[in-house]
């Protein structure tokens, strides 16, 4: 059974204070690891897909990295508009479906 654990559950940062969110996973045959952003009252919005250990992807102040056991979402010099819940999900060998973590709620104070 695929499993995803995200930490911390909640994170408060000051504007400009860089940090990282963690996503630990166990999966039979990783086909892809996904990061999503979810704003209150909205559906998740896709950010990145990572396919293999060592891969990195960047988008504005966000950078996602992947190892064989975990993924990190690094946030550099965050702004208040980066406040959201960040979700991690994996797709295993069975395909067709994702297993999600519970998310990290990020708050960036001005």
């Amino acid at each position: 059974e695929d499993q995803v654990t995200q930490s911390p559950e909640a994170l408060r940062l000051q504007e400009g204070e860089s940090s990282s969110l963690n996503c630990s996973y166990t999966v039979s045959g990783l086909r892809g690891l996904f990061w999503y952003r979810q704003d209150p009252g909205k559906g998740p919005e896709f950010l990145f897909t990572l396919y293999s250990a060592g891969e990195e992807k960047e988008k504005e102040r966000l950078k996602a990295t992947l190892t064989k056991k975990e993924s990190f979402l690094h946030i550099t010099a965050p702004k208040p508009e980066d406040s959201a819940t960040y979700l991690c999900a994996v797709e295993g060998a069975s395909g067709s479906r994702l297993t999600f973590g519970e998310g990290t709620q990020l708050t960036v104070n001005p």
Binding site: F34, K42, T49, Y51, L87, A89, G95, S96, F100, E102
Partner: protein, 117 residues
């Protein structure tokens, strides 16, 4: 381009009532999914479909039924609603992956907030 549209956005039901949630996508995606999201539980897959006329059970299928009569629509039914089904329901859709690559990212609707009294 509307993407994924869920109807209704809010609903309150009494225990034992039935209802159908509608999901429509205009991206010609093959795959469609229904999730529920509860505090402390994350997103859990209820049912999914890999094509018109096909459905499959996800992680938490009990108490729900689905139908995919048209490629663009995926319906989620509650035959006899229970308070434990109070949740936020999300629909998503995606293209399938190629070969050993993962499926394309799922696109989500904005959810249906369902309360069962």
């Amino acid at each position: 381009n509307a993407g994924v549209t869920q109807t209704p956005k809010f609903r309150v039901l009494k225990t034992g009532q039935s209802m159908t949630l509608l999901c429509a996508q205009d991206m010609n995606h093959e795959y469609m999914y229904w999730y529920r999201q509860d505090p402390g539980m994350g997103l859990r897959l209820i049912h999914y479909s890999v094509g018109e006329g096909t459905t499959a059970k996800g992680e938490v299928p009990d108490g729900y039924n689905v139908s995919r009569l048209k490629k663009q629509n995926f319906l989620l039914g509650l035959e006899s609603a229970a308070p434990s089904q109070t949740s936020v329901y999300f629909c998503a859709s995606s293209y399938p992956g190629q070969g050993s690559y993962s499926n394309q990212p799922q696109h989500f609707g904005d959810g249906t907030r369902l309360s069962i009294l």
